[in-house]
Symmetry: C2
Subunit: 293 residues, 2 copies
């Protein structure tokens, strides 16, 4: 069975003590199994403080991040690549310190609007850094997840197919694919087919409406994708993500192009999302089981 998680940015836009307490307490209270903690540079995570909150709330966590332009491991500039590698090592250290088993996000490139396509030298740099990270992560049983995002946020991994090929090139078994319905809605010809293509190499699944608001209030058709998750026996993390100017800081909203106030009650949208994801998964499981009967 998958675990159900929620991105902490439903509540917060930084990771100070009050932020950590707010997000972890709220996610646990709603009934989530897991909270996705963003690793921001240079603030990072006070691991002892966050771990204590997680333990007292009885909830698991993993770490995700997006690399900034000046720390792009797909760069051809050695210092830029090394800055990215250093951030990734710090984020891995944080995930391990939080008893986490996951480190993912937009890490194969920076998250930015590129002006040209990826270069083969940049790709080689990226793969080399991720390979080294994966070997380090393996010692602590951490899986590295590569998130395929839309064309405006990366020039390299936009689809499941591209992410799988990249994983093949890395050649480490603990490097897997992270998909997100918001991005799949822009890039994939068929979201369910993309999930089936990944099979057991899919580790993380963001559920995110086409406009990044309440699940079900947009145009994404979820049942075929949830059925595909059941078909492939998905047992990773299904995590809710959404953004609104009402919650996201101006800096993060600017980076992620969040211009609209689509929702404002973090607890309400998170509770709604957990019901939505559990029900869709359960309905899909019923359907798949009926076919097999």
């Amino acid at each position: 069975m998958p675990r159900f998680g929620v991105h902490a940015m439903i509540w917060i836009s930084g990771w100070g003590y009050a932020d950590a307490e707010r997000a972890i307490t709220a996610a646990a209270k709603i009934g989530y199994d897991y909270v996705e903690i963003p690793f921001f540079e240079p603030e990072g995570i006070d691991v002892a403080h966050t771990r204590s909150l997680l333990r007292s709330s009885g909830i698991k966590a993993g770490v995700t991040l997006v690399l900034p332009e000046q720390a792009d491991i797909s760069s051809t500039d050695r210092a830029t690549v090394e800055r990215g590698a250093a951030i990734l090592r710090k984020a891995l250290h944080a995930s391990v310190g939080l008893d986490g088993d996951y480190l993912g996000g937009v890490i194969a490139t920076a998250l930015k609007k590129y002006e040209r396509g990826a270069t083969s030298k940049g790709l080689a740099n990226s793969i080399s850094v991720i390979r080294e990270l994966a070997r380090e992560a393996k010692k602590s049983n951490v899986t590295i997840g590569l998130e395929a995002v839309n064309r405006y946020e990366s020039n390299l991994l936009n689809t499941a197919s591209q992410a799988l090929k990249y994983c093949d090139e890395v050649g480490e078994a603990n490097v897997k694919v992270h998909l997100d319905t918001f991005h799949m809605n822009i890039e994939e010809a068929d979201g369910a087919a993309a999930i089936r293509l990944c099979g057991d190499r899919l580790i993380y699944f963001h559920v995110n409406e086409n406009h990044r608001g309440y699940l079900g209030s947009g145009s994404i058709i979820y049942p075929p994708m949830f059925r595909a998750l059941c078909d492939v026996g998905f047992d990773g993390t299904i995590a809710f993500e959404a953004f609104s100017t009402a919650v996201t800081s101006e800096q993060h909203a600017g980076a992620a192009s969040i211009w609209r106030d689509l929702w404002s009650d973090s607890d309400d949208i998170a509770a709604h999302a957990l019901r939505f994801m559990r029900e869709r998964f359960s309905d899909a499981k019923c359907a798949v089981d009926l076919v097999a009967r």
Copy 2:
């Protein structure tokens, strides 16, 4: 009845003599009523040459453009706004010269990845320029279309609702809304509802797959939107748009974040699209007529 059009960038990435001949001849041969001609700065359009091609091919044309960052009319810098206004006047002049009745595109702002939301002063500048342009356009019976595009390409007009409010503020009857299924798929909660909200203020409709490849080979559900077009009695332009690295120049691909070779045969994808759009429109019309019977 709407007319069926095609964006010239299915074939070309500039507007030299050979480009103009290629796109106009191909669009006419396939059976399109209309070709959408991009106005590039500083090259512009040799109006006499293009008009002669249009007349000999028996096809109509209109002009669209996207404003570059240094000519953003939603800027708070007067010189930047004035550069944008000057480009818009030139593009209007070209459309009139081509016997066109349309000038549209991403013109209320630049097409770029903004890092912060629109300002009220910038919005006022934009509205003022568009109002003046509309008054000038009215003398030649040209309609101005404001294209709502996704959050990564503008911070101002992402939805039909926002575009309608902007039109209200301009207050000129020949300023209308231009929608595009690719962008609607990212921003609209319900594409058909967005079309109905526009009603007779919708003037232009881009049909564009979620990944910008062959129509029908992606995840967009077209029938509800075509039915909405029939419901509102749409009689503007339904135009096909798609992008692929195989055709788009490196510069334009970089600007529009086109990183994948999704198709390569321009004539084939354009012919397929015309059949697709005509059939979907005709099916939708049947459905709407049956309901009314």
